[in-house]
Symmetry: C2
Subunit: 399 residues, 2 copies
């Protein structure tokens, strides 16, 4: 028996943590040398971040300590920030660390970066629903602006929130925030009619590509909660006082949240991997082009469906990739056969705030309460996948 | 019987609300035409505002709706902002109101304005513990800065709070905030040692004029909670990144709270009343010089003790003035005799945060838990004065 194979997993998002958890289930003690690297000592549930961002759920409910998921007898956890990947040397550098990490097999699950589509000022003057730090700041930013209003009542822009992008994240966020606004108005002695929540989308429809009937239901549900939609309206520019939209109109807003899209983590392109729009087109075994020992999963990977269209990056995709990759890594370690990955959609559900959602599961369209229950089931199922029943009980939302 | 005398009370702070409440107790129906004017539809407890400012108590616990204190059969309440007092015409103007209010007897209880002692940039770049709107903003400002830190970890100034002034308000505020910081650190994933809370005082001692032994106790108690003191150190300048102190040293701080002093409401000087440092020196009947029908109470009034030194403006003073003035107004309405006002100190207690305080009651010095209980009793007693037992039960803090 030779030296143990070194498996290095970068990132503990959906793809990375699922790979790690499944590896530790399937591997025996001392069967491989597995390391997981992550910025934080916790994993977070990106698909639920719209709730802590709006302030309707505490952020601790959307994160899980890695310690509670990883068995340190089987996987070494390193908290650190990846600064460079050198695939030809099979090495990875971390911030503030002299020594580099080596690998035989590398799993890149480093998530995404915001796609700004060249909109001027967007990165500087907007916030994103990206991670625990950013959503906690969004929650506090909105409250701070509300708290300032009565001290400077001429500043009505303090009470305007612009959300750029009406995809899943944008729609789910405005749904939550619309639910929160009445509480904020009470807390800060502000009349509801002073508050504006504007969702702006460049595409000709909200939730581009989704079933029209469901989209109409979503828009009308959210409009009833007080959300204003500007659809088919690109944001031209973002500055410190708000945004300028398609026809040159300025919307003054002290809070701008950008949910308009993501691209791959820039580290993958910097590492020299082939990319298309920032994401690595992986083969059926999730391998990067030209590197049989490098696997890319989650938001930095690019896969195409049978019609040759790219799959959108989702938690569902990353989770399935992680589960499959863990099996293939075990096969590699045991000199077995790799099996090809195929994405199987389990359906899509989007929350519209408390007790409201829309979705498609199989061929079935879901609305309202039923869809909201399905959304909860999906969230619970994911918790079960990574942490079993104890995690479901600890972090699950049951009502 | 002639026309009813018009009594106009401006401001529902300690002085104004106590005057109003005692008038309504002592006057019969249709014995006088009494109007109370106030910015907000609530009275607030200024001496407790350091708690909602620090976020250790909800601001609703420190305000009482005027509606619940005033009997509308006896007193007309007008919510409005006083813009001018014209004592020669016996009229008062309100913002956004064509008609003016007339009076036979005027009570001015319009509170204070911050005294900046000419410190450059202070009004623009600091916040004050002044009213519900301002303390709610302070609470949110501090949290917002904490929430930003992990997104911009080079900005350590986000975690520094400078409090200018170590008088009663400053000391009570740093005591509360020191209690809150561990919670904030937990909420925002920040190591406690990154946070600085700096209390700066120009005078050679904290709590200038107070008993030295008690001051030493206060300072050492607060230092143990992590407060840094810069005593005998004037603030030279305040700018958007912090303050510059005595020797030119810059303290970078994203939050600056000024508690260094108050002066009278500028409206009294604008109205042509004689003032000394912004406050109206009143006679023994609390009357403004040259105007026998104008009474000034609370922070805009100036009174001297037997040694000829000015009394500091306190809630205790305003409350006693209000109680006395109500009796004198009843006397005027009934053509009776005015009695002279004399301030009787009931002692002074300053909170140092949870379960800790210092104080002098009579000749007795109080420390720690005993003083903290006394502080609670004083707050309860005041609630009893303005709203009786129901208010004590509704707003009182008993533990």
């Amino acid at each position: 028996m030779g030296e143990l194979k070194k498996v290095l997993i970068l990132g503990a998002g959906y793809g990375g943590i699922v790979t790690a958890v499944h590896l530790q289930k399937q591997l025996g003690l001392n069967e491989a040398d597995v390391t997981l690297v992550n910025n934080n000592d916790y994993h977070y549930l990106t698909t639920q971040l719209h709730e802590p961002a709006a302030g309707t759920l505490h952020h601790d409910k959307t994160r899980v300590s890695i310690d509670s998921l990883i068995d340190s007898n089987k996987i070494r956890f390193v908290q650190g920030h990846v600064t460079a990947i050198r695939p030809d040397e099979q090495r990875v550098s971390l911030e503030n660390r002299e020594d580099e990490l080596e690998y035989d097999y590398l799993v890149i699950g480093l998530g995404s970066a915001p796609a700004t589509f060249g909109i001027k000022g967007l990165l500087e003057h907007s916030m994103g629903i990206r991670n625990i730090d950013s959503v906690r700041m969004i929650r506090q930013h909105i409250e701070y602006m509300f708290s300032r209003y009565r001290n400077e009542p001429e500043r009505e822009d303090y009470l305007t929130v612009v959300v750029g992008g009406a995809g899943f994240t944008g729609i789910e966020f405005v749904g939550e925030l619309a639910d929160r606004i009445p509480q904020l108005c009470k807390e800060y002695d502000i009349p509801r009619e002073k508050v504006r929540l504007v969702n702006i989308e460049a595409a000709p429809s909200a939730l581009p590509g989704f079933d029209k009937e469901l989209v109409d239901y979503a828009v009308s549900t959210l409009e009833k909660k007080g959300v204003e939609f500007l659809i088919g309206t690109p944001i031209k520019e973002c500055h410190e006082n708000g945004v300028i939209v398609g026809d040159g109109e300025e919307i003054k807003a002290a809070t701008v949240i950008w949910t308009g899209g993501v691209t791959g983590n820039p580290l993958v392109e910097e590492a020299g991997f082939e990319v298309q729009r920032g994401r690595v087109p992986v083969d059926e075994y999730l391998r990067a082009p030209n590197y049989d020992n490098v696997f890319v999963i989650g938001d930095s990977s690019l896969m195409f469906n049978d019609e040759g269209r790219p799959y959108p990056p989702t938690a569902q995709m990353a989770t399935q990739q992680g589960q499959h990759l863990a099996r293939n890594l075990v096969a590699l370690i045991r000199d077995g056969q790799l099996t090809p990955f195929k994405f199987e959609t389990k359906g899509t559900v989007a929350s519209l705030g408390k007790g409201e959602a829309i979705g498609i599961v199989g061929k079935r369209k879901l609305y309202g309460w039923t869809a909201a229950q399905m959304k909860k089931l999906i969230d619970l199922r994911y918790l079960f996948i990574i942490g079993g029943l104890p995690l479901v009980l600890r972090k699950g939302k049951f009502f």
